[in-house]
Amino acid sequence: MSGRTMLGFIAALAAFALLAAAPFFAGPYPLGLLIGISGYAVLATAWSMFSGPTRYVSLATVAFFGLGAYTVGVLSDTLPYPLVLLAAAGVGLLVAVVVGLATLRLAGVYFVVFTFGLTELIRQLVTWYEVNVTRTLGRYVFLPLGPEHIYWQLLALLAFTLLAWWWVRRSRIGLALRVIGDDEVVAAHSGINITATKVVLFALSAVIMTLAGAIQAPRWTYIEPSIVFNPTISFLTVIMALLGGPNRLFGPLLGAIPLFLLFEWLSANYPNHYSIILGVLFIGIVFLFPQGVLAMIERVATLGRREATP
């Protein structure tokens, strides 16, 4: 490991230790913001793990997020909490593998539309099941977990997600995914198993999203499909990752912070125009920073250096 990587690790460790201490100082409102930011940072980082290199824009984030939350809603009365989380991860993995095998052949706009449709399908299936079989649409989640416990769990999940992202980027499977993203024909002719590579990384990213939903479920106390399968969550995740830059380790995280705060403020102050502003922002970010803000800053910095040293 190089000196710079080592330094980065120590800095990240210190930052996480500092963040973990936040509940001892912060009041309930700031802690709520920290939970929201960590939740979206996890989603955006996990999203970029698969969608960054492949450029497959997935809108299925909330499908996995909601499955995680619902698994907790269904099982939290009967199973101990760690097992509930494990079950949620299992559900996410199973759905991701089945969906991955069925859809990762699709490319471009077909994939986008499919993932969006998948979310709606899962939401409708859950609704149908709850209405017709269990005869209760909403569910209560009563778990003895305070906001600080949820926050710590999310922070741990965020640390794991960042580490996984970093490891994938340096590993053979990460290179395979980048080759696939650039040119599938070359990937196939280089001996890369395209389907296996895509499914494994899609599933890893989906399991993390599922856990993010499962961990946050106790916060709502009451969950129903229209809350936990809200497509806005998918859209926000995409914008955050794109703003920061999906091909940089800390890009999605840095995109999540300002956008989450902005959306909080917007939904509190302009609840009626919220989605219009969201749409305009979405378009603006895609037009202005196609590679993300971090990539743009790097480009400007290199240009500056070049001009400084004629």
Partner: protein, 242 residues
Amino acid sequence: MSALLSITGLHKRFGGLVAVNDLSFALAEGEIVGLLGPNGSGKTTALNMISGFLRPNAGSILLDGEAIGGLPPARISHKGVARTFQLVRALPSLSVAENVVAALAFRREPLWGATATTEAARLLSRVGLAGRENQSAASLTYIDLKRMELARALAADPKLLLLDEWLAGLNPTELRQGIDLIASLRTGGITILLVEHVMDAVRALCDRCIVMNAGVKIADGHTQDVLQAPEVVRAYLGDADA
């Protein structure tokens, strides 16, 4: 000498068009063979079936006696077939070295880490790209992209190398270097099938030539004899009576 590649009765249809019709030929180990023919005669389609990009409708392809026809390209690449593409296919978001490591890391006996980096540098210097490892592949000129693509094909450690107009578009100096480079591969034990329109290169490199026209093989033999055969001249220049 035993046949490294042996093709019998190969067929490929695209709708009503028969692109390759009952093609049969064999390559001996260590041979450099030219696959010639006018545009649209089925040369690239034949190459695409050998590399697994297309599935044949009928016929068999044997590599070292093992059937590879219709296998997916990744499997065929592991059996020892590598290729370059008529229109260069680079991986633009990767560095030049990573483009080569992409093949080293997923071949049958994969290389990774420092070994892969060293081997990539060796292959790149062999094709004339020494010292360019860390450059972005998107910044290379067309000719350098072709060189990089050849290094990537060699990285797969192939028994059979398929070159699809690899020498097209080179200037005379580059052509000279290119011909020497390909000739040097034979000494390394690689069998080469090349689709080529540059006749100087075909004469300099190929012991044997196969000529196709409208999907059918019309000649197969020593380069000099084949290039003078009346049916070959007719395919290229048209019929005197027409």
